[in-house]
Amino acid sequence: MSKFNSQSTRSGRRRFLRGTGVSIGLPWMASHRRSIAADSRQKVTTGDDGPPHRMIAICNNLGLHAPHFNPVGQGMNWKPSMYLKEFEPFRDSMTVLTGVSHPEVDGGHNAEKSFLTTAPHPASGSFRNTISLDQFAAAELGKETRFPYLALGVNTSRSLSWTRSGVPIPAEQRPSKVFERLFIEGSAADKGQRIESLRQGQSVMDSVRRESRLIHRELDREDREKFEEYLQSVREVEKNLQRQQAWSKTPKPEVEYKQPKDIRSQADVIGKCGVMYDLMHLAIVNDSTRFITLLSAGHFIVPPIEGVAEGYHTLSHHGQNPDKIAQLALIELEEMKLLASLVKRLKRSPEAGGSLLDRTMVLYGSNMGNASSHDNRNLPTMLFGGQFNHGQHLQFDSTNNESLANLYVSMLQRLGLPVDQFGTTGLSTMRGLALKG
């Protein structure tokens, strides 16, 4: 080890907790079958030994124009709307939900904080968030992969992911960075420095734990409860560090995909989402992670789409103006096409005699039912993949909405977790949606 601190050691150290994970060049089965069987058997209620289930959750924080989204007819007999036409090839692998929302989650744009957590009244001055769906799942099932989860953002450093104690997890918003973490092996020197940094991180945590014990002893019951959070966090950091050290010995998977350049224009939401979707697909195929969230934030700047002359966010406040709605539809259609291409790729990737989509749930939705009036009810929602009795349009009452959190309970069960509740509002599985296979 050199006796001076060159620039590269600095940046290496700066990143030292930003785990560069690892993943594997092999399909999941070769390397992980044993550990999965050993670790998760007691949790798996479906009792199968197949590939693991995964989950992607995407939230577009400006919603979708309901008349263009809502299908006509319900159950298995529904006619696709303008937007849903894009998904015709996957009709059998998707469920459309309308008339769903999170009870007591209001506050317009603030509601994005509760999209995956269900915590009530996110705009309140005393709002306290709770754990998000992906974190809940990753805490149980995220240990198998180099990254327990990925929290991504388009045009925002906020993510959909929140920790158990309600702390927001910042989003990674630069595709080049995500790619680097997933797939780029550093030089031997970089790696050495990174490992030193990880180990130094452990020294720090050791020392913090020692000091904390002294303070902890003197706290009474009420204060202790809160302080435990801190101690628990220290333990988690230590575990993360250990995990990262272990993974740093495994080479990262090689992919036929060039490190993407970051699109800087905030206007190009579609372009940015496209790159993120590519990376999400690669991460799932290579089993780098099994839980991914993506929050995409529309901007005031005019997106580069033929025929669109106003900012995305501005258009979402269309006030029922037909010209604005027409422009909005151009943007939203592009988004649907992009999503369809992600689903298509998952469907075309073979796995265990079926497709990757069979074991990958893709939830697409929004915290906004009507962005024009900032209404957080009637959220446009789609669930793809993961082997449910798909092919349906589950239509619920538009004035008395069904709890969207029930869908989350269904999804957790699909992952094999023995839960029958999520948050305060997911009290059962989603009516009409059943596991298959």
């Binding site: 620039q7 007591e104 309600g166 303070i215 009474d220 009420e222 209404d375 909405n401």
Partner: protein, 927 residues
């Protein structure tokens, strides 16, 4: 009503969950009443409260007879079941639920008005007995556990703590996850959670800070450069094709910013080479204008694409009077820039432009004759250091030898190309053909035209002027030396001993030898494992910073509570430091005596007079008045074309300046509601229609954008927070106002009576931008429903009074609406095309009722509030108690809060008095 200190249920979610069922209940009230009268006696006589509930008999009668009609095991309206809610008030969550029950009954919200008559004396007795019992229980709880929970530093406190320890301004708060809040404050222990994500980002922030604070290179030379727009590529190649600039013999005239860019008028040839102090001088004058224009100086990235990475900051606004080549104005600025900062200048008082093509022709000068600002040149000098290495380096590495690294290349000194005459020449990039021959542009006809064909020899083109190249984005600084220790174990001990008191925030002699040993050990251990001295010591430092001794506020830890049940002196100093100086108190604070009430009050006086008080004001005002949400929406430029960045900036300055002056000059708190003065600058005077004040107050001088106290004209509705543009903007969305949002703000932030959120399933009121129906009419319909009326009778009136103001704080008597024919029109921000697209809609109506008193307009509404100065003072005090002690006032705190108010009453409840008296009180020194 002395005992009216309003208490809030602390767990919002829990409390809100309970509110939920109200609407459902009230849909069928008659049914319940019927049931009650028919079987009430019988049923309830036969069912005493369930075992395990144990409500004392003195309350149980009324609860069983009345409350349990709806709050029972079968119905449990609003999630409250009074048959099973245990009377175990030693448990905090039960205590809070019972407190909530008390408040609902006390405020008259429960039982609901359509419930029927209940015996008033019985109710009064119930309230006073329940109140006494719960107050006693709360006192007991607080005396055992303290008022607040032990807590970590929040993100901005952490940044302040480390900046102070390292003696260099850091901006690391943005690297940390956003903090939880209670009552809008990020200082309340209960809301401040910790997670591994937090700890990981703190470690990252510490590393960034150490990198910034460690200087392993030569002292940078102070250099001067003259920057000229006429030599910049941006002006000659990018912007010349038309639009908002014109190159003249003695400078460049700036006609406007490009619309939607943050600040495109960048000087791309120079960027700040190092973090440090710089001096800037701009020579400029306004042209084609009979009045001054405003020139804004910013630092940021090279354009808006990088703004994500180098956030743009406003350095100053200058008021530039008209002049000519012989009579320009000199504008000066001195302050801190960061490495890689570029300078931007923009004439913010002028309309922004949308790029179009120059109507005169591509190769012609812009012919626009409108107002502009001519900028001759910008002189910049820096970085200027008083000391090298900087104090921050000395904090981390005192007396550690720096040894050159063999063969290491230092960073090139940037900007040297500016020392020579420009070597490049502007390329003619524009087509010389007629616009009609050019291919259809990429996107609608506002887009840029690209030159897309070969240029013929001899064709008349613009170009060929000498210009400087753009400065490249600078590389991170490379160290060219390493830190060499000749006795690592001894140095480690010395460095750690020096560093610990700074981050633990204790006097040096409070650091024990074993503490030094523990941390030095970490460094020594790493050094012996082959790590560099720097990296070994940094590991030890990081461990100290992450330790709870540095991460936790001492004034929230039980070890700092004395036998008398109050905080020890060290903890009180910590509290004073973080509250009244946001962690930046002058060094003398550590030496002061704070044990007696009088001494504490004296210290508070000194802290308020110190310059660090501005740090307190920034944070407190942001959170108390929601100023941090000022940018949550952007006004629609079709309806409010007069909104601009200057106004946005000025409205915030007004409110901050207003509160600052109230504190500094000890003004009565009632001036939060109404006053005969406000803080104005040139832009606000225009906005509020006080043109006459511009000359008399000197607002046309160069510093006319700095806010100053100004006496308002007799007939003005302004004065007080309610009528300040910032309040009115942050309580509106971009297109319209909602009396509900404004009413909630007034009740919550100004009167400290936050209303409950709406029950689930109530749709937001959708504004009608065609203007067929006013929001007032929609609300009136809403209030016809008894269940909605209960809250909206309180919420709506302040909001209705404020309907006299539009979303940007302008006074109006009619709503602005966009007529159908203009719905699709686009605003062209070109000089000659500025149609006003809105027109007058329905008239505004501002009357209403508060507690049976009627008001016609905002003046009369303010007058009603002013009748009760004690309530206004109490609301302010309660907010400050929550912010400063990290715990929202409870039943048990009422007495001391009223004591503080009593002491301040004779002097008319003045802001400084109230703050200082609180600091002197026992409440302030409880954990």
């Amino acid at each position: 009503m002395k005992a009216a200190t309003r208490l809030r249920p602390h767990l919002a979610a829990d409390h809100l969950a309970r509110k939920g069922g109200l609407a459902r209940l009230l849909k069928a009230p008659c049914w319940y009443l019927l049931l009650f009268f028919a079987f009430g006696e019988l049923v309830f006589a036969a069912s005493p409260s369930k075992p395990g509930n144990n409500i004392p008999p003195r309350f149980s009668t009324l609860i069983e007879d009345t409350c349990q009609d709806c709050h029972n095991s079968d119905v449990a309206e609003a999630g409250l079941n009074l048959e099973t809610l245990p009377w175990q008030v030693a448990d905090l969550s039960n205590l809070r639920r019972w407190t909530n029950v008390l408040e609902r009954v006390q405020s008259g919200e429960m039982p609901p008005s359509d419930y029927g008559e209940i015996d008033q004396p019985q109710k009064r007795k119930f309230v006073s007995q329940l109140d006494r019992a719960l107050t006693t229980a709360t006192q007991r709880h607080q005396s055992i556990h303290g008022r607040g929970r032990s807590r970590r530093l929040n993100a901005s406190e952490f940044e302040a703590m480390l900046s102070n320890a390292l003696q260099t301004p850091l901006s690391i708060a943005e690297l940390l996850p956003e903090d939880g809040r209670a009552d809008g404050f990020d200082t309340v222990g209960e809301a401040l959670s910790v997670s591994s994500v937090q700890i990981e980002s703190i470690i990252e922030a510490v590393n960034v800070s150490f990198d910034q604070a460690t200087e392993l290179y030569e002292r940078p030379m102070t250099r001067s450069h003259r920057l000229d727009f006429r030599r910049s590529r941006m002006m000659l190649e990018t912007y010349r094709r038309g639009g908002p600039h014109r190159v003249e013999d003695d400078g460049v005239i700036l006609f406007g910013r490009e619309l939607f860019s943050h600040s495109n008028l960048v000087l791309p040839q120079w960027s700040a080479p190092y973090d440090g102090i710089y001096e800037i001088e701009v020579i400029a004058y306004a042209v084609n204008s009979d009045q001054p224009e405003v020139l804004t100086l910013r630092a940021g990235g090279t354009g808006h694409s990088e703004s994500q990475h180098v956030p743009s900051v406003i350095l100053d606004h200058f008021v530039v009077p008209p002049g000519d080549a012989k009579n320009p104005t000199k504008l000066r600025w001195r302050g801190r820039l960061s490495r890689s900062h570029y300078l931007h200048l923009s004439p913010e008082s002028l309309r922004p432009f949308r790029f179009g093509n120059n109507p005169a022709g591509f190769d012609k000068k812009v012919s626009w004759k409108g107002p502009g600002i001519l900028v001759r040149h910008v002189d910049v000098k820096g970085p200027i250091f008083d000391q090298w290495p900087s104090p921050s380096h000395e904090v981390l590495w005192p007396e550690i030898k720096q040894t050159p690294i063999e063969g290491a290349n230092p960073n090139e000194f940037p900007n040297t190309h500016l020392d020579q005459e420009p070597q490049r020449f502007a390329e003619p990039k524009l087509a010389t053909r007629k616009p009609s021959e050019i291919k259809k542009p990429l996107r609608n006809n506002l887009a840029r035209f690209y030159y897309d064909g070969p240029r013929k020899f001899g064709e008349r083109v613009v170009g060929g002027e000498p210009m400087h190249r753009d400065q490249r984005i600078l590389d991170p600084l490379r160290g060219v030396r390493w830190l060499q220790s000749f006795d690592p174990p001894q140095d480690a001990r010395r460095l750690v001993r020096n560093f610990l008191p700074k981050v633990f925030r204790v006097p040096p002699d409070a650091i024990r030898d074993e503490d030094v040993e523990t941390y030095a050990e970490i460094a020594i251990d790493w050094f012996s494992q082959g790590a560099s001295f720097e990296s070994a010591i940094r590991t030890a430092y990081t461990a100290a910073i992450c330790s709870p001794r540095s991460m936790y506020r001492k004034d929230t830890l039980p070890q700092h509570v004395t036998d008398e049940g109050r905080l020890d002196d060290q903890a009180i100093i910590e509290r004073l430091n973080f509250v009244l100086a946001h962690g930046n108190a002058p060094a003398w604070l550590q030496e002061t005596n704070v044990s007696s009430s009088e001494e504490r009050m004296k210290v508070a006086e000194r802290l308020i007079d110190a310059s660090s008080i501005d740090r307190f004001l920034d944070h407190f005002v942001d959170q108390w008045l929601d100023l941090r949400q000022l940018d949550f929406t952007t006004p629609d430029s079709k309806i409010y074309p007069e909104y601009d960045l200057l106004l946005r900036w000025s409205m915030e300055e007004e409110t901050r300046g207003y509160i600052r002056r109230m504190l500094k000059e000890n003004l009565p708190l009632i001036e939060l509601v109404d006053s005969d003065w406000t803080m104005l600058n040139r832009r606000l005077a225009q906005h509020y229609g006080f043109e006459s004040l511009i000359d008399s107050e000197g607002l046309n001088e160069v510093d006319g954008m700095r806010v100053r106290p100004v006496n308002l004209p007799e007939d003005s509705v302004r004065g007080g927070l309610l009528t300040q543009a910032s309040t009115l903007k942050l309580t509106a969305n971009g297109t319209n106002t909602s009396p509900v949002v404004r009413g909630v703000w007034v009740l919550d932030r100004l009167l400290d009576q936050p209303p409950s959120p709406p029950p689930p399933g109530v749709p937001a009121i959708e504004p009608d931008i065609r203007g067929a129906v006013t929001i007032r009419d929609q609300l009136e319909r809403h209030r016809e429903s008894e269940s909605c009326a209960r809250c909206h009778n309180n919420i709506d009136p302040p909001g209705l009074a404020l309907e006299a103001f539009d979303p940007i704080g302008g006074l109006r008597d009619r709503y602005r609406v966009i007529p159908e024919r203009n719905a699709d029109a686009r605003v062209f921000h070109q000089p000659k095309l500025r149609p006003v697209l809105y027109e007058d809609g329905l008239p505004v109506e501002t009357s209403g009722f508060v507690e049976n008193k009627s008001f016609r307009d905002v003046e009369e509404y303010k007058a009603i509030l002013c009748e009760d100065p004690r309530s206004i003072a109490r609301a302010f005090l309660c907010k400050f108690v929550a912010y400063s002690t990290g715990a929202i006032p409870t039943l048990a705190d009422r007495r001391e809060i009223e004591d503080v108010l009593d002491q301040c009453e004779s002097n008319g409840f003045r802001m400084r008095d109230v703050l200082i008296t609180l600091v002197g009180s026992d409440l302030f020194v409880q954990k």
